[in-house]
Amino acid sequence: MSQSKQELRAQRRAHREALEQAHTAADTRRRRLFRLGAAVASAVVIVAIAAVVSTSSNGAPKSVTASTVVQGVPETNGVLGDPNAPVTITEYVDLQCPVCAQASTNTLPTLIEDYVKTGKVKLEARTLHFLGPDSTTAAKVAAGAQQQNKLWSFLETFYANQGSENSGYVTDDFLKSVATTAGVNADQALEYAKTDPATAALDKANADAQAVGADSTPTFTIKRGDGQETTLAVGATDLTTALDKALAG
């Protein structure tokens, strides 16, 4: 009889303990799920902040800045400098390429100052458009600027105001501001961009890039007179050494 009482007590204790354990387990689980929920919520906040920071810091600049890189250098239908210069350097670019924008400040000033202005070299450009739709829109307007002998001015002004790739910042308003700042008749250039010759200019640039094997931008090629066009350098590097070697050879 007393044995069964003891047993009963033990049973009740076991039952109580089991209940408490289940309770603690449920509590812990709830607490953990709540924390995980908080973690997911903070992840959502992180994504939201990332989106806001990126769009505010990477979007199109509010005011358009001018570029002085090609100031005072004459251009004849896309050829910058003396059209009779013995050597042609061609730059293959994509207007959205950040490294091309780097080249605009790192590579071009010396090249223009020491070689183009001195009549040793003339510069040409081929505007590719592989980075996306904004590249294509911009490249067509660049073709329009070339019609006004302002291609280089347009390119360099564009780089000075380059936004983030394919964010849709290359709007008509943006292009008009860049063109006007570059000294281009914006309306005419944008009108030209809608024409077949503008599309043809893009196709020609692609074909030229393929012919010389330029598969990244910026690529600089060199040509003496009517000779063979060969790659001189790739990237936003200083061209002086390579160019001096090529000019001496």
């Binding site: 812990t28 953990r32 924390r35 990332a50 490294v99 598969d215 990244s216």
Partner: protein, 133 residues
């Protein structure tokens, strides 16, 4: 067991982030390649976040996750889960940018994103499966 697996994945992620950080600062391949890839992604304006290279952010994230794995307490497990899920959110955003904004895929960045997915799953499992107190 889960902890060991989490450490292994975090180390893999750390290796990737270290490589991407080195590439970022060494400025390897300073071009925009027609064949889309890491150069495009790493040279894009999205490669830095509020002035800090995202590769460095990844590096710091993996170091923090590894640090949280040093202890096997409830608090440490919670911190790991927080970091991994937060990291997953950031990785998801970066992958979105790669695919839809840059239209370029960097295989190393995808590798890091996969590590973060695994870490988030492992850290969640570890937290939920730990013995109740």
């Amino acid at each position: 067991m889960t902890r060991t697996a989490t450490i292994a994945v975090a180390l893999a992620g750390l290796a990737i982030a270290t490589y991407l950080t080195i590439v970022h600062y060494a400025g390897g391949e300073p071009v925009c390649a027609i064949a889309h890839g890491c150069a495009t992604v790493q040279k894009s304006t999205y490669a830095t976040f509020a002035g800090v290279p995202v590769a460095v952010l990844g590096l710091l994230g993996y170091v923090a996750i590894l640090a949280s794995l040093l202890k096997d307490s409830e608090a440490a497990r919670t911190v790991t889960a927080f970091l991994a899920i937060g990291g997953l959110g950031f990785s998801a955003w970066l992958t979105y940018v790669e695919v839809f904004e840059l239209e370029a895929i960097c295989i190393w960045c995808v590798g890091s994103a996969i590590c973060m997915v695994l870490l988030a799953v492992l850290a969640t499992t570890r937290l939920l499966r730990a013995p109740a107190r």
